[in-house]
Structure formats: structure tokens, C-alpha cells
Subunit: 409 residues, 2 copies
Amino acid sequence: MSLFVQKFGGSSLASLENIKSIAQKIKKAKQSGHDIVVVASAMGGETDKLVAMGQQLSAGLPSLREMDVLLSTGEQCAVALLAIALNAAECPAVTLLGSQIKICTDSNHGKAHISDIETDKIWHALHSNKVVVIPGFQGVSDNGDITTLGRGGSDTTAVAIAAVLQADECQIYTDVDGVYTADPRVVPRAELLSEVGLSDMLELSSLGAKVLQIRAVELASKKNVPMRVLSSFGGDTQGTLVCAHSNVNSKKAITGVVTSISEACVTLCGMPNDTQSLAKILHLLSSVNVEVDMLVQNVTRDNMLDISFIVQQENVGLVNSIILPKVAEYGIQALHINEQVAKLSVVGIGLRSNAAVLAKVSAVLGDLKVHAHLTSASEVKVSVIIDENSIEECIKALHSVFELDCVEI
Amino acid sequence: MSLFVQKFGGSSLASLENIKSIAQKIKKAKQSGHDIVVVASAMGGETDKLVAMGQQLSAGLPSLREMDVLLSTGEQCAVALLAIALNAAECPAVTLLGSQIKICTDSNHGKAHISDIETDKIWHALHSNKVVVIPGFQGVSDNGDITTLGRGGSDTTAVAIAAVLQADECQIYTDVDGVYTADPRVVPRAELLSEVGLSDMLELSSLGAKVLQIRAVELASKKNVPMRVLSSFGGDTQGTLVCAHSNVNSKKAITGVVTSISEACVTLCGMPNDTQSLAKILHLLSSVNVEVDMLVQNVTRDNMLDISFIVQQENVGLVNSIILPKVAEYGIQALHINEQVAKLSVVGIGLRSNAAVLAKVSAVLGDLKVHAHLTSASEVKVSVIIDENSIEECIKALHSVFELDCVEI
């Protein structure tokens, strides 16, 4: 008998029919003799609806404490419905809310971090042979206030609960079959990975693969929780096991190709080439919590400094508002922001030679006459920033060149 | 400076625009220097929607514990939105949920009774000059489960909180202006009462006036809480004060005329006239929790027993299913159930002479050629059961005969 934590996302719970079907899936796992703890997100679309209501009542600046009271109703509603469906299907189930268990967090409303989870009530319910249904995304602060963990926080809740219960697997049910070598909607020959290493998964998530939330993968990595990505509606496939030590794909140079189009490329031209310029810019950005990626600096022939870096598109307004007032003071001759870019990354613990992978990537881009605006390489990944409209041809070509295309049957 | 508990029902909170307008009303009261505790129901229609979802997932038999987890999200959502609107209107407000305060109840899911309310957190928030927003209808049981108080429970929450805080008034905001001598939609000349005694209000509520929940009036009466019924959207009218000692209307014979059409009249004919027949029937009905009203028995010329009584229409199926199998055993010769009846009551502490009031009622019905199926009289009311389609002409005639019609200006 194993203990599984099963997490179901909003798209798996979007209608009452879906909830009934998920209840049957859970019942089946329970009848196989396993202990089951379910973590559920809000029904699909519900959180967006609640956010919109809170924004509308407050000209976009709602009280953060009260937004958490509001948003947590989404998951509370979903777990109650799921528990009602389970009990009606004669699979005894009980809900335990974040404030009941307790899922202790800091008081950082809207993006709280879990500090501890009490397990007494969970064990007690499991011992009574019940399925325990826990709302994801929410917790309770020291002073008893409801908190939420931020978007995608349900994955994190599931991993954290799997960690404290030392569950055999944390199963993340989603609307995809598992983790692929590339987005199968873009690359039809992308291969479903039966296993992927946690470090690779961490890179894939941080680079834009939407299968798992990066905070959840980080936590799983830290706590050594085996995760499995499975399809909510796809029958009994095995999905992808995400585990600390994976040997699969070790013969291939890379694990997967990931793209993201949420970036913007910022270039500051013609600053004085002194030791302070870069620091001043970074200080400005960090003062408004803008994260910077793939930063490069370049000294021009006339001894001026050019700086380029990547920010998330949602931060472009903030970047403009913080840098523009300083243009004269800092001696910035031009500020360019290009939002029509995409980030293309090849990932793999197998990247034994950065240089060889980078050379291959460059050759593929060269063949396609695609210009790389920025390039970065680490031990486990190589990323390039290219024009957004070239992304599809590049990912297909790389997928093939790195021999990820699945063998046709 | 006074302390007011203000309760807003679902129809007062049916849209975001309504919520904004209620927030302005609360802010105005707060700015007048009063301490304000708000009790809110779920947004109009929300509870019905949640009930339907729970029923649909469970073929009409949802887990009662989980239904309470589900239903309580309705009020939680409403208080969060109201607190967000208040804070956005620069009227500092904080929500305190049933499980946070705590509103302690028994474990009777779906119809729990409040046993105690802790006031520390409420006083602390009031002391910080904040409006406290509390969800009605919900509490928490000894073992930390969410409970609900049953339909209309928000009125009860408001009165209970007003009682423990010893508030100056418990103000119930509704979609009517206050308590009238009769339903103003039926009797255009019905008069708005500026004051009504608690005992009269108790009778009015129990006899079908929908303004206040009977449990709330009972509690107010027991705890001596002054209540005021006011309009949510009707400007600064004074509404109706419901208080222990009211002298208003003492010159009139009655306080008001109330009707209800949710009754059914049950008649059992031709039972043996022995000492056990009535007891057996009452025992049967009480075994399925059916409440009986206006029971009369009559011995026929051939020494048989006829019994008639009133039940709620919703219990007719239950009554049939429990009595029919016993027809032979108990020697019942006929079972008639008439659902096309209405209950018409005249109410008033001023009923100094039952007989005189009853005589007047009988005369009015006689003039209109309306037959009274059943009649009952107590110190504070006279009720008759008549055909449903006669109700409007009777109520108008009684309202006029008892001189309740307001004077035309």
C-alpha cells in the first residue's frame, strides 16, 4: 500500500461533470488499496472571476488581506464539491481547509510561503480510511488570517503535503500527458519523457514549460519528493516521473527544447564606461523588484557602454517608468525595448559540453538565418533570444538536430 | 457614540454596484461617529446556486458536513468583497470569519445553533477604529468544522452578535421599508409601523411575514436586543423599531394582518372515538419531525372521530407516506389533504378580547361568503384557514375593518 498525494488543477475541475469523473479516478486509486490525499485548485476560471471582482471594487488596488479571504473561496468551493461527489460515489472523503490542518504560512498576503504543515488531522482521517481533500493555494498566518500562495500555488501545496507526509509520490494531474521534449503542439514529433531529472525539470519549468510550477519543483527538489505528471482525462498512462536521479535520456545531449514568449529585451546604449553605470541600473531595477536575466554588457569602439538584458513583458511599464527619469543623469543615450522576442532554450543535465551544444545551436540558427540577440549558457542549459516570429522553425530544427524526434512506429 | 450591528441580506448585495452603494451607507454611519459591525449574507442567488451544485453531484443527498464547507463560501465571498469596497472607499474594514472570531455552534450541520461568540477579536478591531465585517449564517463546531445555521441564519448571527456586544441596535437592512400592518403589495393602504413590540413581531414572523427570521426575533426577544428593520436602498428613513416594550398602536385592537399560503390542511375522517386515536397520529407525525398546527378534533353523530390539522405544504409527501400504510390498522376511513388553503391571522398584544376580535373576523368572512375551515385563537392572535383564492379580498376587508388603513394625506 502506498500513500499518494494527487493534485488536480482548475481545468480538471472546470465543470460538475469533470468533478464527477475526477471523483471516479480518485475512487479507483483508493480501491487499489492506496491512501489518497487530494489537493484541488479552484474550478477553472473561478480565480480569474474573483480577482476581477476584487479589482473592480477597488480601482485595481484591493486590500491584500481581504483578497486572500476572497480568493480562498475558489478552492474551498472546489474541495467541498469534490468531497460531496466522492461521498456520493461511496468513497468516504473529508475536506480539511488550510486553516483547519493547519497549513502555516508567513503573512505575505497573495504570495505567502508555507512554513509548516500540521499532520495530525490528516493522519487521523487517513486512519479512518477516508480520502482527505485539501484546498491548494491557501494557508493560514500566525495570527489566524487566511493567506494565499500566489498563482499556481496548488502545485506547491501538493508537494509540501507530500513532503510532510513522506508520500510515495506527488501526482500532478494536468491537461497534458506528461513532460515532452518540446511543446507537442509546435513539434508534432516531440517525445513524451517517461522520466526526467528534478534539475532538468527545474530548468524546463523556469524556462517556460507550463507543466509544473517552478516553486513546486524547487520544493520537490529540496525535499526529495518524487513527482509524477499525469493526464486528468487520458486513461491509465504512466505520465512522466520527475525524480532526483534519472538516467533516462543520458545518451542524448539534451533533455528538451523550451520556448517562452513572455520576455522583452531591454537595451541601454552609450552610457559612460565607468565602474558605476551597471551597478546604478541594477540598483534601480531591484528597487522595484524587477528581475533581470541574460544580462550582457559591451564596450563600443568609442569607449561607451551598451547594456542589454531580458525582463518579463509585464514589467516593461515599470522599467520605462524607473529608467526614463534617469536618462540624463546617468548619461544614457538611447533606451530600446523590444517585446517581439522569444527565448529558446535547450536543457539537459547531459549538457556535458556547453560549447558543443552552443555551436550546434548557432549552426542551426545560422542555417535558418535567424539572429540571436542575446545568448547565455550554463551547466544545464543554453538559451538564445531570437525574434518571436522565428520561434517555430527554430524549435523544430533544434528538436531534430538534437535527435529528440520520436521514432515513428 | 453608539455601537450598531448592521445586517445586509443577499438582495442588498446582489451586484458589485449594490456592494459599492452599501459600502457608502456603512461609511456614512461610521463617519457619524458610531462603531459598526456588519453582518453580511451571500450575494443574492449565490446560495441557491451552491445548493444546486451540491445536490447535482450527490443525487440530492450531499454530505452535510461538506455542504456547510460549500455554502459558507457564499458569505465568505460577500464579506471579502464588502471589506474590499469599504477599504477602497477609505473606510478601514476587516473581515472576521465564523472560524476566526469564533462563532461557536453545535455540530448540527445545516441547522446549527450558536452556543457562544468570542468577542476579543471584534473589540480589538473596533478599538483600532475599523468596521468589522462578519459573514452571517456560519459558525464553527467544537472540533473546528464549519457549520451553517440554516436558511435566513444571517439575521440570527446579527442578533447574536448584537447580544454579546450589547449593541445599541441590531439594524436589519432589507428590500422593504420596515414592518407594515399588512403586505403593502396586497393592501395598498397598509401602514408602516414606526415601532412594534417583540411579541407582536414574533407572531408576525411565525405567521408568515417575511421581514425577519423567526429564530432571530426569538433570540432578540430572549436577549432583549433592540432590532430595527430598514431599507437598504431607501434613503434615511427610520424603518421600524422592534423592541421589548412598545406602546405604539395600543389604541388599535390589532397590530397587523398576516397571510401565508405555504400550508396544507389535513383531515382524517371516521377514526374510532377512543383515547388512543389522536395520540397514535401525533406520534406518527412527530416520528418524522412534521410540525402540526391548528389541530381540531370533532366527534361525529355516529360517534366517530374526525381530526383536522395544518402542516407545511413541503411536508405533504411525508405525511402521506407515513399515514397511508396505517389507514387499515388505525381504522381511518378517509384521508383528505387540501393544499389550496391559506392562513390569515390578525395579530396584536392589543387583542384584549379574543372573542370580540374573532367575532369581527367571522362577520367579515361571513359578509364575503368565505368559509373558515379551521379557526384558532390565542392571547395575541386569531388565525383562520380559508380557501387560497379568497385571501386578497379578506385581508383588505380585515385591514379596513380593524382601522389599520393609513390616513390619506
